[in-house]
Symmetry: C2
Subunit: 99 residues, 2 copies
C-alpha cells in the first residue's frame, strides 16, 4: 500500500460514525448493506450517510455496487489487510527484529 492511500484510509476511519459503519460492514461480510439500511440503522440523515460512505469508498475501505434501486456497500478486506500490514511493516527491524 502507498502512503497516500494509508493516510486516506486512516482519515476515513478516524471519525466515529465512519468507524461504526466500517466495523458493522466488517461484521456483515460480503453480503453487505444498502445505504438506506445503514442510514436507518445508525439514525443518520441520508445526506450525512452518503457523505461518509463516499469517504470510505474513496479510501478503498468499502466497495459499492448497485443492486436495483439500492446501492450495496461491503467491506473491502484486501484493503483492510493491506492497511494493517502497512502499519506494522518491518516491525523492530532496526532493533534485531525482536518484538
Amino acid at each position: 500500500m502507498k502512503k497516500s492511500n494509508a493516510v486516506k484510509s486512516l482519515t476515513a476511519l478516524a471519525q466515529e460514525s465512519r468507524l461504526d459503519i466500517f466495523r458493522l460492514l466488517v461484521r456483515k461480510g460480503k453480503t453487505g448493506m444498502a445505504a438506506g439500511e445503514l442510514s436507518d440503522y445508525f439514525g443518520l440523515p441520508k445526506a450525512t450517510m452518503s457523505f461518509h460512505l463516499k469517504e470510505l469508498t474513496n479510501a478503498g475501505l468499502i466497495t459499492a455496487k448497485r443492486e436495483s434501486r439500492s446501492i450495496i456497500y461491503a467491506a473491502n478486506y484486501d484493503n483492510m489487510n493491506a492497511l494493517i500490514n502497512f502499519l506494522v511493516e518491518n516491525c523492530c527491524s532496526d532493533n534485531g527484529g525482536k518484538c
Copy 2:
C-alpha cells in the same frame, strides 16, 4: 479497546508526518528515538514535532520517557495490536464467520 480510544488513535495516525513518525518508531523497537532526533530526521521544526508527538502519546500509540535531557519516544505495541484487533473484531460474524 474502547471506541473513543480507537478514534483517537486513528486520528493520530491519519496525518502524513505522524504516520511517518509512528512507522519509524515501529521499526526502531523498544530503544526508540529522542524528540530532537526525530525532528532532525524528518526536517520538521521542534514545535511541530512536539505537537505531533503529543498527539501520538495522548492516543497511547507511543510512550515517552525522559532520559537525561532527552525525551525518548517508542512505539506502544500493545496499543497498536489492540487497535488492529478492534478494527477486525467479529469479522464476518453476521455472515457465518466465513471471510
